[in-house]
Subunit: 112 residues, 4 copies
Protein backbone atom coordinates (compact mmCIF):
# COMPACT_ATOMS: atom_id res chain seq x y z
CA UNK A 1 0.00 0.00 0.00
CA UNK A 2 1.40 3.35 -0.96
CA UNK A 3 -1.30 5.47 0.65
CA UNK A 4 -1.96 5.98 4.36
CA UNK A 5 -3.04 2.62 5.65
CA UNK A 6 -6.46 1.64 6.94
CA UNK A 7 -5.58 1.60 10.62
CA UNK A 8 -4.19 5.14 10.44
CA UNK A 9 -7.31 6.36 8.65
CA UNK A 10 -9.61 4.73 11.20
CA UNK A 11 -7.70 6.22 14.12
CA UNK A 12 -7.69 9.63 12.49
CA UNK A 13 -11.47 9.33 12.06
CA UNK A 14 -12.14 8.68 15.71
CA UNK A 15 -9.46 11.03 17.04
CA UNK A 16 -10.76 14.00 15.02
CA UNK A 17 -14.12 13.43 16.70
CA UNK A 18 -12.65 12.81 20.17
CA UNK A 19 -14.47 9.47 20.26
CA UNK A 20 -11.75 7.32 21.75
CA UNK A 21 -13.04 8.26 25.22
CA UNK A 22 -16.23 6.27 24.49
CA UNK A 23 -14.46 3.33 22.89
CA UNK A 24 -14.02 0.97 25.81
CA UNK A 25 -13.24 -2.55 24.68
CA UNK A 26 -16.50 -4.12 25.88
CA UNK A 27 -18.60 -1.74 23.80
CA UNK A 28 -16.29 -2.19 20.83
CA UNK A 29 -16.82 -5.95 21.06
CA UNK A 30 -20.58 -5.30 21.21
CA UNK A 31 -20.24 -3.06 18.16
CA UNK A 32 -18.41 -5.71 16.15
CA UNK A 33 -21.20 -8.15 16.96
CA UNK A 34 -23.92 -5.64 16.01
CA UNK A 35 -22.26 -4.83 12.69
CA UNK A 36 -21.83 -8.56 11.99
CA UNK A 37 -25.59 -8.86 12.46
CA UNK A 38 -26.31 -5.98 10.09
CA UNK A 39 -24.18 -7.81 7.54
CA UNK A 40 -25.96 -11.11 8.24
CA UNK A 41 -29.34 -9.40 7.91
CA UNK A 42 -28.61 -8.92 4.20
CA UNK A 43 -28.76 -12.74 3.92
CA UNK A 44 -31.94 -13.26 6.00
CA UNK A 45 -34.54 -15.31 4.04
CA UNK A 46 -32.18 -15.31 1.04
CA UNK A 47 -29.66 -17.49 -0.75
CA UNK A 48 -26.11 -16.25 -1.17
CA UNK A 49 -26.88 -15.52 -4.83
CA UNK A 50 -29.92 -13.40 -3.94
CA UNK A 51 -28.01 -11.47 -1.28
CA UNK A 52 -25.18 -10.69 -3.68
CA UNK A 53 -27.60 -8.63 -5.74
CA UNK A 54 -27.09 -5.84 -3.19
CA UNK A 55 -23.30 -5.43 -3.41
CA UNK A 56 -23.31 -1.85 -2.10
CA UNK A 57 -24.89 -2.78 1.23
CA UNK A 58 -22.65 -5.84 1.58
CA UNK A 59 -19.62 -3.67 1.03
CA UNK A 60 -20.69 -1.15 3.65
CA UNK A 61 -21.68 -3.60 6.36
CA UNK A 62 -18.55 -5.68 5.89
CA UNK A 63 -16.52 -2.45 6.11
CA UNK A 64 -18.22 -1.58 9.42
CA UNK A 65 -17.28 -4.98 10.87
CA UNK A 66 -13.69 -4.37 9.81
CA UNK A 67 -13.58 -0.79 11.11
CA UNK A 68 -14.69 -1.82 14.60
CA UNK A 69 -12.40 -4.88 14.56
CA UNK A 70 -9.47 -2.62 13.66
CA UNK A 71 -10.43 -0.18 16.45
CA UNK A 72 -10.49 -2.98 19.02
CA UNK A 73 -7.14 -4.28 17.74
CA UNK A 74 -5.69 -0.79 18.12
CA UNK A 75 -7.13 -0.41 21.64
CA UNK A 76 -5.48 -3.71 22.56
CA UNK A 77 -2.16 -2.78 20.87
CA UNK A 78 -2.47 -5.69 18.48
CA UNK A 79 -1.07 -5.87 14.97
CA UNK A 80 -3.73 -7.10 12.52
CA UNK A 81 -1.33 -9.06 10.33
CA UNK A 82 0.42 -10.64 13.28
CA UNK A 83 -2.72 -11.92 14.99
CA UNK A 84 -4.09 -13.28 11.72
CA UNK A 85 -0.81 -15.11 11.03
CA UNK A 86 -0.68 -16.51 14.56
CA UNK A 87 -4.29 -17.75 14.42
CA UNK A 88 -3.80 -19.33 10.98
CA UNK A 89 -0.80 -21.19 12.37
CA UNK A 90 -2.93 -22.47 15.26
CA UNK A 91 -5.84 -23.42 12.98
CA UNK A 92 -3.38 -25.25 10.71
CA UNK A 93 -2.45 -27.52 13.61
CA UNK A 94 -6.11 -28.27 14.30
CA UNK A 95 -6.78 -28.97 10.61
CA UNK A 96 -3.63 -30.42 9.00
CA UNK A 97 -3.67 -30.17 5.22
CA UNK A 98 -3.11 -33.89 4.74
CA UNK A 99 -6.23 -34.92 6.63
CA UNK A 100 -8.55 -32.01 5.93
CA UNK A 101 -9.59 -32.69 2.36
CA UNK A 102 -12.35 -35.10 3.11
CA UNK A 103 -15.85 -33.67 3.04
CA UNK A 104 -17.11 -35.48 6.11
CA UNK A 105 -14.17 -34.33 8.19
CA UNK A 106 -13.98 -30.76 7.08
CA UNK A 107 -17.37 -29.55 6.04
CA UNK A 108 -18.24 -28.52 9.55
CA UNK A 109 -14.85 -27.08 10.46
CA UNK A 110 -14.87 -24.46 13.16
CA UNK A 111 -12.04 -22.36 14.49
CA UNK A 112 -11.94 -22.40 18.29
Amino acid sequence: MTDQDSMAKINQFRDERHWRQFHNEKDLAISISLEASELLELFQWKTSAEAKQKPERLKEELADVLIYAYMLADNLDLDIDEIIAAKLAKNAKKYPVATSHDLKETKHHSFD
Copy 2:
Protein backbone atom coordinates in the same frame (compact mmCIF):
# COMPACT_ATOMS: atom_id res chain seq x y z
CA MET B 1 4.41 -5.22 4.70
CA THR B 2 7.37 -7.05 3.25
CA ASP B 3 6.06 -10.54 3.88
CA GLN B 4 3.18 -12.26 2.12
CA ASP B 5 0.10 -10.33 3.13
CA SER B 6 -2.80 -11.51 5.28
CA MET B 7 -5.28 -12.04 2.47
CA ALA B 8 -2.84 -14.23 0.57
CA LYS B 9 -2.14 -16.30 3.68
CA ILE B 10 -5.83 -16.75 4.41
CA ASN B 11 -6.56 -17.83 0.84
CA GLN B 12 -3.64 -20.23 0.89
CA PHE B 13 -4.99 -21.71 4.11
CA ARG B 14 -8.40 -22.48 2.68
CA ASP B 15 -7.17 -23.48 -0.76
CA GLU B 16 -4.71 -26.03 0.62
CA ARG B 17 -7.66 -27.64 2.40
CA HIS B 18 -10.03 -27.35 -0.60
CA TRP B 19 -12.47 -25.49 1.64
CA ARG B 20 -13.56 -22.80 -0.75
CA GLN B 21 -16.31 -25.12 -2.00
CA PHE B 22 -18.02 -24.84 1.41
CA HIS B 23 -17.51 -21.10 1.74
CA ASN B 24 -20.72 -19.70 0.34
CA GLU B 25 -21.27 -16.10 1.34
CA LYS B 26 -24.29 -16.72 3.58
CA ASP B 27 -22.39 -19.17 5.76
CA LEU B 28 -19.36 -16.87 5.82
CA ALA B 29 -21.62 -14.06 7.12
CA ILE B 30 -22.95 -16.49 9.74
CA SER B 31 -19.35 -17.38 10.65
CA ILE B 32 -18.37 -13.73 11.11
CA SER B 33 -21.33 -13.30 13.45
CA LEU B 34 -20.48 -16.46 15.41
CA GLU B 35 -16.85 -15.43 15.84
CA ALA B 36 -17.95 -11.94 16.92
CA SER B 37 -20.00 -13.66 19.62
CA GLU B 38 -17.07 -15.76 20.78
CA LEU B 39 -15.13 -12.51 21.11
CA LEU B 40 -18.01 -10.85 22.96
CA GLU B 41 -18.30 -13.84 25.29
CA LEU B 42 -14.91 -12.87 26.76
CA PHE B 43 -16.62 -9.70 28.05
CA GLN B 44 -19.79 -11.40 29.44
CA TRP B 45 -20.34 -10.47 33.12
CA LYS B 46 -17.08 -8.49 33.04
CA THR B 47 -15.75 -4.97 32.73
CA SER B 48 -13.35 -4.13 29.91
CA ALA B 49 -10.50 -4.14 32.42
CA GLU B 50 -11.38 -7.63 33.67
CA ALA B 51 -11.70 -9.00 30.15
CA LYS B 52 -8.31 -7.63 29.15
CA GLN B 53 -6.71 -9.97 31.65
CA LYS B 54 -7.09 -12.73 29.03
CA PRO B 55 -5.18 -11.13 26.14
CA GLU B 56 -4.42 -14.45 24.43
CA ARG B 57 -8.08 -15.36 23.98
CA LEU B 58 -8.96 -11.81 22.86
CA LYS B 59 -6.22 -11.96 20.25
CA GLU B 60 -7.44 -15.29 18.89
CA GLU B 61 -11.13 -14.47 18.74
CA LEU B 62 -10.51 -11.08 17.16
CA ALA B 63 -8.27 -12.81 14.59
CA ASP B 64 -11.08 -15.26 13.76
CA VAL B 65 -13.49 -12.38 13.10
CA LEU B 66 -10.90 -10.82 10.79
CA ILE B 67 -10.10 -14.09 9.00
CA TYR B 68 -13.75 -14.72 8.11
CA ALA B 69 -14.27 -11.05 7.19
CA TYR B 70 -11.29 -11.23 4.83
CA MET B 71 -12.62 -14.49 3.32
CA LEU B 72 -15.99 -12.88 2.62
CA ALA B 73 -14.27 -9.82 1.12
CA ASP B 74 -12.28 -12.11 -1.14
CA ASN B 75 -15.38 -14.06 -2.17
CA LEU B 76 -17.03 -10.77 -3.09
CA ASP B 77 -13.91 -9.46 -4.91
CA LEU B 78 -13.64 -6.56 -2.51
CA ASP B 79 -10.45 -4.79 -1.51
CA ILE B 80 -10.26 -4.42 2.29
CA ASP B 81 -8.54 -1.02 2.24
CA GLU B 82 -10.88 0.36 -0.38
CA ILE B 83 -14.12 -0.59 1.38
CA ILE B 84 -12.81 0.76 4.69
CA ALA B 85 -11.84 4.06 3.05
CA ALA B 86 -15.21 4.34 1.29
CA LYS B 87 -17.17 3.64 4.48
CA LEU B 88 -15.09 6.10 6.52
CA ALA B 89 -15.86 8.75 3.90
CA LYS B 90 -19.58 7.99 4.21
CA ASN B 91 -19.47 7.97 8.03
CA ALA B 92 -17.63 11.30 7.94
CA LYS B 93 -20.58 12.87 6.16
CA LYS B 94 -22.99 11.52 8.78
CA TYR B 95 -20.77 12.75 11.61
CA PRO B 96 -18.94 15.92 10.51
CA VAL B 97 -15.92 16.70 12.66
CA ALA B 98 -17.14 20.19 13.50
CA THR B 99 -20.37 19.01 15.10
CA SER B 100 -19.35 15.65 16.50
CA HIS B 101 -17.36 16.64 19.57
CA ASP B 102 -20.22 17.09 21.93
CA LEU B 103 -20.94 14.20 24.27
CA LYS B 104 -24.72 14.29 23.93
CA GLU B 105 -24.53 14.23 20.17
CA THR B 106 -21.85 11.66 19.72
CA LYS B 107 -21.87 9.23 22.59
CA HIS B 108 -24.44 7.04 20.92
CA HIS B 109 -23.03 7.26 17.41
CA SER B 110 -23.83 4.37 15.15
CA PHE B 111 -22.65 3.66 11.64
CA ASP B 112 -25.54 2.72 9.38
Copy 3:
Protein backbone atom coordinates in the same frame (compact mmCIF):
# COMPACT_ATOMS: atom_id res chain seq x y z
CA MET C 1 -50.21 -25.29 32.93
CA THR C 2 -50.82 -27.04 36.21
CA ASP C 3 -47.21 -27.08 37.33
CA GLN C 4 -45.12 -24.15 38.50
CA ASP C 5 -44.60 -22.03 35.41
CA SER C 6 -41.37 -21.40 33.55
CA MET C 7 -40.75 -17.89 34.86
CA ALA C 8 -41.08 -19.06 38.46
CA LYS C 9 -38.69 -21.94 37.84
CA ILE C 10 -36.13 -19.67 36.19
CA ASN C 11 -36.28 -17.18 39.04
CA GLN C 12 -35.98 -19.93 41.60
CA PHE C 13 -32.92 -21.20 39.76
CA ARG C 14 -31.09 -17.90 39.91
CA ASP C 15 -32.29 -16.93 43.39
CA GLU C 16 -31.12 -20.21 44.94
CA ARG C 17 -27.66 -19.41 43.56
CA HIS C 18 -27.79 -15.71 44.55
CA TRP C 19 -27.07 -14.83 40.93
CA ARG C 20 -29.46 -11.95 40.51
CA GLN C 21 -26.73 -9.60 41.76
CA PHE C 22 -24.73 -10.32 38.57
CA HIS C 23 -27.71 -10.11 36.23
CA ASN C 24 -27.62 -6.50 35.12
CA GLU C 25 -29.69 -5.92 32.01
CA LYS C 26 -26.78 -5.12 29.70
CA ASP C 27 -25.08 -8.44 30.41
CA LEU C 28 -28.39 -10.28 30.11
CA ALA C 29 -28.85 -8.74 26.65
CA ILE C 30 -25.30 -9.87 25.81
CA SER C 31 -26.17 -13.35 27.09
CA ILE C 32 -29.28 -13.60 24.92
CA SER C 33 -27.15 -12.68 21.91
CA LEU C 34 -24.45 -15.23 22.81
CA GLU C 35 -26.98 -18.02 23.27
CA ALA C 36 -28.64 -17.08 19.97
CA SER C 37 -25.22 -17.55 18.35
CA GLU C 38 -24.71 -20.94 19.96
CA LEU C 39 -28.07 -21.92 18.50
CA LEU C 40 -27.12 -20.50 15.09
CA GLU C 41 -23.80 -22.36 15.21
CA LEU C 42 -25.75 -25.61 14.90
CA PHE C 43 -26.77 -24.42 11.40
CA GLN C 44 -23.30 -23.23 10.28
CA TRP C 45 -22.30 -24.85 6.93
CA LYS C 46 -25.55 -26.86 7.04
CA THR C 47 -29.03 -26.92 5.60
CA SER C 48 -32.01 -26.85 7.96
CA ALA C 49 -32.54 -30.55 7.30
CA GLU C 50 -28.95 -31.40 8.24
CA ALA C 51 -29.09 -29.31 11.41
CA LYS C 52 -32.30 -30.98 12.56
CA GLN C 53 -30.38 -34.22 12.86
CA LYS C 54 -29.11 -32.92 16.21
CA PRO C 55 -32.42 -32.26 17.99
CA GLU C 56 -30.94 -32.50 21.49
CA ARG C 57 -28.49 -29.63 20.94
CA LEU C 58 -31.18 -27.53 19.22
CA LYS C 59 -33.49 -28.04 22.17
CA GLU C 60 -30.85 -27.00 24.67
CA GLU C 61 -29.59 -23.93 22.85
CA LEU C 62 -33.09 -22.70 22.12
CA ALA C 63 -33.94 -23.20 25.80
CA ASP C 64 -30.93 -21.08 26.81
CA VAL C 65 -32.10 -18.24 24.57
CA LEU C 66 -35.53 -18.44 26.21
CA ILE C 67 -34.15 -18.66 29.77
CA TYR C 68 -32.10 -15.48 29.36
CA ALA C 69 -34.96 -13.73 27.56
CA TYR C 70 -37.30 -14.59 30.45
CA MET C 71 -34.71 -13.35 32.97
CA LEU C 72 -34.42 -10.01 31.18
CA ALA C 73 -38.22 -9.74 30.99
CA ASP C 74 -38.39 -10.37 34.72
CA ASN C 75 -35.68 -7.81 35.47
CA LEU C 76 -37.66 -5.27 33.45
CA ASP C 77 -40.99 -6.22 35.08
CA LEU C 78 -42.42 -7.29 31.75
CA ASP C 79 -45.06 -9.95 31.20
CA ILE C 80 -44.00 -12.33 28.41
CA ASP C 81 -47.49 -12.86 27.01
CA GLU C 82 -48.31 -9.16 27.10
CA ILE C 83 -45.23 -8.00 25.24
CA ILE C 84 -45.66 -10.73 22.61
CA ALA C 85 -49.30 -9.75 22.08
CA ALA C 86 -48.42 -6.05 21.86
CA LYS C 87 -45.64 -6.67 19.32
CA LEU C 88 -47.81 -8.96 17.20
CA ALA C 89 -50.42 -6.20 17.09
CA LYS C 90 -47.77 -3.72 15.92
CA ASN C 91 -46.34 -6.14 13.33
CA ALA C 92 -49.87 -6.77 12.06
CA LYS C 93 -50.19 -3.08 11.20
CA LYS C 94 -46.90 -3.15 9.32
CA TYR C 95 -47.91 -6.31 7.44
CA PRO C 96 -51.70 -6.33 6.93
CA VAL C 97 -53.07 -9.77 6.10
CA ALA C 98 -54.73 -8.60 2.92
CA THR C 99 -51.50 -7.37 1.33
CA SER C 100 -48.95 -9.74 2.80
CA HIS C 101 -49.57 -12.90 0.82
CA ASP C 102 -47.48 -12.05 -2.15
CA LEU C 103 -44.03 -13.57 -2.28
CA LYS C 104 -42.24 -10.45 -3.51
CA GLU C 105 -43.75 -8.33 -0.77
CA THR C 106 -43.40 -10.68 2.15
CA LYS C 107 -40.46 -12.95 1.59
CA HIS C 108 -38.07 -10.47 3.12
CA HIS C 109 -40.33 -9.35 5.94
CA SER C 110 -38.58 -7.98 8.98
CA PHE C 111 -40.02 -6.88 12.28
CA ASP C 112 -38.64 -3.47 13.30
Copy 4:
Protein backbone atom coordinates in the same frame (compact mmCIF):
# COMPACT_ATOMS: atom_id res chain seq x y z
CA MET D 1 -53.63 -17.88 31.14
CA THR D 2 -57.29 -17.65 30.26
CA ASP D 3 -56.83 -16.05 26.87
CA GLN D 4 -55.47 -17.66 23.75
CA ASP D 5 -51.86 -18.35 24.51
CA SER D 6 -48.81 -16.75 22.92
CA MET D 7 -47.85 -19.68 20.74
CA ALA D 8 -51.32 -19.86 19.22
CA LYS D 9 -51.29 -16.12 18.52
CA ILE D 10 -47.87 -16.31 16.89
CA ASN D 11 -48.88 -19.20 14.69
CA GLN D 12 -52.10 -17.46 13.72
CA PHE D 13 -50.05 -14.41 12.77
CA ARG D 14 -47.81 -16.30 10.39
CA ASP D 15 -50.48 -18.61 9.04
CA GLU D 16 -52.82 -15.73 8.11
CA ARG D 17 -49.97 -14.33 6.04
CA HIS D 18 -48.95 -17.72 4.56
CA TRP D 19 -45.44 -17.10 5.87
CA ARG D 20 -44.67 -20.56 7.18
CA GLN D 21 -43.35 -21.49 3.70
CA PHE D 22 -40.44 -19.04 4.23
CA HIS D 23 -39.77 -20.06 7.81
CA ASN D 24 -37.09 -22.71 7.41
CA GLU D 25 -35.27 -23.38 10.64
CA LYS D 26 -31.91 -21.98 9.53
CA ASP D 27 -33.40 -18.58 8.71
CA LEU D 28 -35.42 -18.62 11.93
CA ALA D 29 -32.19 -19.18 13.86
CA ILE D 30 -30.64 -16.28 11.93
CA SER D 31 -33.70 -14.16 12.79
CA ILE D 32 -33.42 -14.90 16.51
CA SER D 33 -29.78 -13.81 16.37
CA LEU D 34 -30.62 -10.62 14.45
CA GLU D 35 -33.39 -9.67 16.89
CA ALA D 36 -31.05 -10.37 19.82
CA SER D 37 -28.66 -7.87 18.24
CA GLU D 38 -31.37 -5.24 17.84
CA LEU D 39 -32.08 -5.69 21.54
CA LEU D 40 -28.38 -5.49 22.40
CA GLU D 41 -28.02 -2.35 20.29
CA LEU D 42 -30.18 -0.51 22.84
CA PHE D 43 -27.32 -1.07 25.32
CA GLN D 44 -24.46 -0.05 22.98
CA TRP D 45 -22.29 2.71 24.57
CA LYS D 46 -24.67 2.73 27.57
CA THR D 47 -25.01 1.44 31.10
CA SER D 48 -28.00 -0.72 32.01
CA ALA D 49 -29.53 2.26 33.78
CA GLU D 50 -29.22 4.48 30.71
CA ALA D 51 -30.68 1.82 28.43
CA LYS D 52 -33.69 1.32 30.68
CA GLN D 53 -34.73 4.86 29.92
CA LYS D 54 -36.15 3.52 26.63
CA PRO D 55 -38.54 0.86 27.98
CA GLU D 56 -40.75 0.83 24.89
CA ARG D 57 -37.94 -0.19 22.53
CA LEU D 58 -36.66 -2.79 25.03
CA LYS D 59 -40.12 -4.28 25.25
CA GLU D 60 -40.46 -4.52 21.48
CA GLU D 61 -37.04 -5.96 20.73
CA LEU D 62 -37.30 -8.50 23.53
CA ALA D 63 -40.73 -9.49 22.18
CA ASP D 64 -39.24 -10.03 18.70
CA VAL D 65 -36.58 -12.37 20.14
CA LEU D 66 -39.35 -14.32 21.88
CA ILE D 67 -41.62 -14.43 18.82
CA TYR D 68 -38.92 -15.94 16.61
CA ALA D 69 -37.83 -18.32 19.39
CA TYR D 70 -41.42 -19.53 19.74
CA MET D 71 -41.70 -19.96 15.96
CA LEU D 72 -38.56 -22.10 15.87
CA ALA D 73 -39.84 -24.15 18.84
CA ASP D 74 -43.09 -24.72 16.98
CA ASN D 75 -41.28 -25.70 13.77
CA LEU D 76 -39.30 -28.24 15.78
CA ASP D 77 -42.37 -29.52 17.66
CA LEU D 78 -40.91 -28.44 20.97
CA ASP D 79 -42.86 -27.40 24.05
CA ILE D 80 -41.47 -24.15 25.48
CA ASP D 81 -42.08 -25.05 29.12
CA GLU D 82 -40.66 -28.54 28.71
CA ILE D 83 -37.40 -27.48 27.09
CA ILE D 84 -36.89 -24.73 29.67
CA ALA D 85 -37.47 -27.18 32.53
CA ALA D 86 -35.13 -29.75 30.98
CA LYS D 87 -32.35 -27.19 30.47
CA LEU D 88 -32.72 -25.79 33.99
CA ALA D 89 -32.34 -29.32 35.33
CA LYS D 90 -29.16 -29.76 33.30
CA ASN D 91 -27.77 -26.36 34.35
CA ALA D 92 -28.54 -27.23 37.97
CA LYS D 93 -26.20 -30.21 37.72
CA LYS D 94 -23.44 -28.03 36.30
CA TYR D 95 -23.97 -25.41 39.02
CA PRO D 96 -25.13 -27.13 42.23
CA VAL D 97 -26.77 -24.71 44.67
CA ALA D 98 -24.42 -25.66 47.50
CA THR D 99 -21.27 -24.64 45.62
CA SER D 100 -22.51 -21.83 43.42
CA HIS D 101 -22.82 -18.98 45.89
CA ASP D 102 -19.24 -17.84 45.79
CA LEU D 103 -18.50 -14.85 43.61
CA LYS D 104 -15.32 -16.24 42.10
CA GLU D 105 -16.99 -19.48 41.12
CA THR D 106 -20.23 -18.12 39.80
CA LYS D 107 -19.71 -14.65 38.45
CA HIS D 108 -18.67 -15.96 35.08
CA HIS D 109 -21.21 -18.75 34.87
CA SER D 110 -22.17 -19.83 31.39
CA PHE D 111 -24.75 -22.34 30.29
CA ASP D 112 -23.30 -24.76 27.73
